[in-house]
């Protein structure tokens, strides 16, 4: 009896890492919810939409504060259910299939992860994270748990669901990419293999190469695609690769860089998606080849997009610059010169596809005769705030980076 109580203990604990993740998720989640009031205006099933939206954010907060693995797993699956319903929100046949794909792939990963949790229980006799601190995790458990993390964070080779999930309403995609879903995987990695367990040395190279593969392959795919949401989705896969890379490198600089990248990516990618949402909302197309010249009709959206894109590329003074720099620096610290150089190559790739995106959509001559106007006030306000946050975080990062370097 005592043992079962111990197993399913409803125990939460807070530390810097959890506070940071919760703040980022709820903060960006709040902005996205605000944006939704403009975007989803006069649409059906709003009650359900907002129910799942807030359940999603709430489950995320529950997950980051969970003090044992089972509780973490429960919140993990709640977010999976929320994402499944939200991706298929418009209830078209194709959308539902894509939602199923997202659910099945992430569920596939998390079930394997549960087996990994089982092995941990066999080895150490507890699910309690505090008691597991400082233990050496077995390679088998690491591999199994990694499946869940890769599937949730959409890393190679379990990334295929994320580009397809772009059929969701734009606030949902922004939420998935920036605030909650894909961040869960890297959060779990940070929680388990940075803060709690000691990572075996061999795994550093393997996971490092896996994340660099995600950076490069997804970056390449983003350059080839023409659908605005698919480009941004591949971009997320690519950028989350940097977070994973920094965490795997496991030094103070790498961890600080990776966690700061979570913040920079949350602001930047939410901004990009929400700007893309304004465009899609007004133009009713997602093909960048059919868009053009929008900077004249929607200047605020265009400038916000540009600032967020610069942050994601890693151009100073935006937040992404320092984050990317520290992540790549951490590769050099561990003498993984190849990984570092490939990381910079990935940044060049990012530059290629985001500037292509900006050029095609916002510069040049308008390609349709539709009368275009800026998005509604609240939508434009949100994207502007995200752009300003991207710059502000880049200009005054000192204290935060210091704090994030000390999560362990």
């Amino acid at each position: 009896m005592n043992q079962i109580e111990n197993l399913l203990q409803l125990k939460f604990s807070a530390d810097i890492l959890a506070d940071f993740m919760a703040t980022v998720s709820t903060g960006v989640g709040m902005l996205i919810a605000l944006y939704s009031t403009g975007y989803m205006k006069k649409q059906k099933h709003l009650l359900e939409f907002y129910f799942y939206l807030f359940l999603f954010i709430g489950a995320m907060v529950g997950l980051v504060y969970s003090a044992n693995l089972i509780l973490m797993y429960i919140f993990w699956e709640i977010t999976a259910v929320c994402s499944w319903r939200l991706i298929g929100h418009y209830r078209e046949e194709e959308h539902l299939l894509r939602a199923d794909k997202a659910f099945i792939v992430t569920f596939f990963g998390s079930v394997i992860m549960l087996v990994g949790f089982g092995i941990i229980y066999r080895d150490f006799g507890t699910f309690n994270l505090a008691e597991l601190k400082g233990q050496a995790v077995s390679t088998g458990a690491l591999g199994l748990i990694l499946c869940g993390i890769l599937a949730k964070s959409a890393q190679l080779p379990l990334h295929i669901w994320l580009p397809d999930a772009g059929v969701a309403p734009t606030p949902v995609t922004a939420l998935l990419h920036a605030a909650v879903l894909v961040k869960i995987g890297v959060y779990a990695f940070a929680r388990l293999f940075v803060v709690t367990f000691n990572l075996p040395d061999l795994s550093r190279e393997v996971i490092g190469f896996l994340s660099v593969a995600s950076i490069l392959v997804a970056g390449a795919a983003a350059l080839v695609e023409n659908d605005i949401k698919r480009i941004l989705a591949y971009s997320t896969i690519s950028q989350i690769g940097y977070v994973l890379l920094g965490l795997v490198m496991n030094g103070t600089i790498g961890i600080a860089g990776a966690l700061f990248f979570i913040l920079a990516h949350a602001f930047g990618k939410a901004g990009l998606f929400l700007c893309a949402g304004v465009v899609e909302h007004n133009m009713h197309t997602k093909d960048i080849r059919k868009l053009g010249g929008l900077i004249r009709s929607m200047p605020v959206t265009a400038v916000s997009f540009f600032v967020c894109a610069l942050s994601i590329i890693g151009v100073p003074p935006m937040a992404g610059f320092l984050a990317k720099l520290f992540v790549i620096k951490s590769c050099f610290v561990n003498n993984e010169i190849t990984l570092g150089v490939l990381g910079i190559t990935g940044a060049v790739l990012t530059m290629f596809y985001l500037i292509r995106f900006f050029n095609e959509v916002f510069l040049g001559e308008p390609k349709t005769s539709v009368l275009v106007h800026e998005g509604s006030f609240v939508m434009v306000l949100v994207v502007l705030v995200l752009a300003i946050l991207s710059v502000a975080a880049g200009l005054f990062p000192g204290g935060l980076i210091d704090l994030l370097g000390g999560v362990r």
Binding site: L156, H159, V315, P317, G340, V348, F352, I355, L363, D402
Partner: protein, 634 residues
């Protein structure tokens, strides 16, 4: 004192913010702000060395700025060019809508602030921070052109310079790894890692300066963005920044080795020749000038690559001279373009009569860039040649570089003859309405720069070299100008100027005293008078160079875009991306589809087995019974 260091960075940036918020008198505010920046820069320069350190990041990374002779000299120079070009802009773009002007001037100012920050950086990460930040303003400024090709040119500029920036980032990271710190300390490139660090640093600097292979965006931007942007970025500020870093690489970061020198000198020599050959053929004044902007970088890189004092000082001096005359050339061409409405030199001609000040400024600058004594371009080229000859101790191929440099100089003169002839001389343009000099704010910057060409040429040793450049470059770069040890063949500009003036006076006296009367007659060709509608352009003569056997092939490829390194790189990236996309991403997607199909088919098969038919179920029961029996019997 240390607080002042921030002002050349903050004043322009705050002024830019002011312009964007107030939205009144953007040109006036920009002019005042850049002038104040110039003054503060001069104050900092005269105050000597000072260091300011602010807390910035953990891991021991401070926001450290250092003003000393060399860095604050560059702050003064960048602010000076900003003032002149903004002065020129106030007239050039005064017809544009207010929104446009506000954006334009704020980009100018922010760029100035960032560039000053990069000059003053005393920490490689601070340098990288400001260096990469200028990328944004490059893109924004090129985008202010409103032509169909502008977006493509802006993208090309962003990606080309961006690749260089990431090269610099890699260089900084490698250097950080090698030295364990981010401060300017000198290391000896003896390991593979340190050589790589040097190469990536150099690539970063070269991309900013616009040397090959990072040059292709400049000609494209020249026809697609305002002439002031060209005068501001590729002609002056970017060049200042790129050459500044290249010099510091050689003086403060790496001990030069022969291999490094040959690497840079080869790039320099190739840039000089390739770009000047392209310049010969251009039909657009802006494109022609932009190819010269590339070609001239070659001299600076060549000079610095020699690694000896004469070469390095010559390279830096050439950079200063080049920014002066190239900015002047762009601005004067901009005046002509403003008057005539075109920069296609086939359609220009005869503007020398109607725009005398612009013509004279342009002529002086053109002669300076061609290296005609006693103008400044001559002296710095001379020093670069001297450096190349001195580098004979380290590299046996020095004469190749020398020939390339001198030949390039001759071709520069040739192509400027073409430009001067086609724009200002030649038959007068028929349209009289477009004649007349431009306003003072447009001709004054050009005139100031032309005067500087003269002064810096005649008093080259006394004024720029001994007063500013040589002391700024530090103790290792002392050149015994008067002792005559190193500089046995030193050009004496004062004496030469005396001789030239004497020669001109002599000619005048002969002309006045003698009975020489020039005969004036109507223009004719081959004895035939020219018909009124017949037009002879200055361009066609230069087309003959395309008929030279070997050059012909090269030119045909070059004009077809075959040596557009940007296109090469973009093509490679695109191809590799498609391969990765299909072979990895889509492949994994296919596998997941396959798994889905297999499970659906399996499910369908199992479903068929449960069709609800009694006979099927009976058959299954029987089969099960048999299996159980078999097991039990065994």
């Amino acid at each position: 004192m240390t607080e002042q260091i921030l002002s050349p960075i903050l004043i322009p940036v705050f002024a830019a913010g002011l312009i964007l918020i107030l939205r009144v008198f953007p040109g006036f505010i920009a002019l005042i702000a850049s002038a104040i920046t110039l003054i503060t820069g001069a104050v900092i320069y005269s105050a000597g060395e000072s260091v300011a350190v602010y807390p910035w990041l953990p891991f021991g990374i401070d926001f450290s700025l250092k003003a000393y002779d060399f860095s604050s000299l560059f702050v003064v120079l960048s602010s000076f060019f900003a003032v002149l070009i903004i002065l020129f802009s106030t007239k050039l773009i005064n017809e544009k809508p207010k929104n446009y002007r506000c954006r334009y001037y704020s980009y100018f100012l922010v760029n100035l602030g960032f560039i000053n920050g990069a000059f003053l950086a005393n920490n490689l990460l601070v340098l990288l921070f400001f260096w990469e930040a200028t990328l944004i303003m490059l893109y924004a400024l090129v985008s202010t052109g409103e032509k169909p090709g502008t977006p493509a040119a802006a993208r090309k500029a962003f990606i080309t310079v961006g690749i260089g920036d990431f090269c610099l980032m890699l260089g900084v990271l490698l250097f950080w790894q090698l030295t364990g710190g981010l401060y300017f300390t000198k290391i000896k490139p003896d390991s593979a890692l340190s050589v790589a660090a040097f190469v990536f640093f150099a690539l970063g600097a070269l991309s900013k300066a616009g040397a090959m292979p990072f040059h292709n965006w400049i000609p494209d931007a020249s026809t697609n963005s305002p002439v002031t942007v060209m005068a501001y970025l590729p002609a002056s500020l970017d060049k200042l920044l790129g050459i500044y870093l290249l010099t510091r690489i050689f003086i403060d970061l790496f001990t030069p080795t022969a291999g490094m020198g040959v690497f840079l000198m080869s790039i320099g020599a190739f840039t000089i020749l390739a770009a000047v050959f392209m310049a010969m053929l251009q039909h657009n004044a802006m494109r022609l000038l932009s190819y010269h902007a590339i070609s001239q970088v070659g001299y600076m890189v060549l000079g610095i690559g020699t690694g000896n004092p004469a070469g390095i000082v010559g390279g830096v001096f050439h950079m200063l001279n080049n920014t002066i005359y190239k900015t002047g050339l762009f601005l004067c061409s901009g005046s002509v373009e403003k008057k005539s409405g075109t920069a296609e030199i086939d359609k220009l001609g005869g503007y020398g009569k109607t725009m005398p000040v612009t013509f004279l400024s342009f002529l002086i600058a053109a002669l300076a860039i061609s290296g005609i004594p006693p103008l400044n371009g001559f002296f710095s080229k001379w020093m670069v040649y001297q450096g190349v000859i001195d580098s004979g101790f380290v590299s046996k191929t020095w004469w190749l570089f020398l020939v390339a440099a001198m030949f390039g100089s001759a071709l520069t003169l040739a192509s400027f003859m073409k430009l001067v002839h086609s724009m200002f001389l030649g038959q007068s343009e028929p349209d009289k309405e477009k004649s007349g000099e431009v306003g003072i704010s447009m001709w004054l910057p050009g005139a100031i720069l032309a005067t500087l060409c003269l002064i810096l040429g005649i008093f080259a040793v006394q004024l720029p070299l001994q007063k500013f450049l040589v002391p700024a470059l530090g103790a290792e770069m002392q050149i015994p100008f008067n002792a005559g040890e190193l500089f046995t063949g030193l050009w004496r500009p004062m004496a030469a100027t005396g001789f030239i003036i004497a020669g001109i006076l002599l000619g005048l006296i002969i002309y006045l005293l003698g009975k020489v009367h020039p005969r004036t007659t109507e223009t004719y060709i081959g004895g035939e008078k020219l018909a009124g509608d017949m037009y002879v352009s200055g361009v066609d003569f230069y087309q003959t160079i395309r008929e030279v056997p070997v050059l012909k092939t090269v030119y045909n490829y070059a004009l077809a875009g075959a040596i557009d390194f940007y296109e090469w790189f973009a093509g490679i990236v695109k191809t590799v991306s498609e391969v990765l996309f299909v072979s990895v991403d889509r492949f994994i997607d296919k596998i997941s589809d396959g798994i889905k199909k297999v499970s659906l088919n399996t499910g369908e098969f199992v479903r068929q087995l449960h069709g609800g038919l009694l006979s099927v179920y009976l058959f299954w029961s029987l089969l099960g019974f048999v299996v159980i029996l078999l097991v039990l019997m065994r």
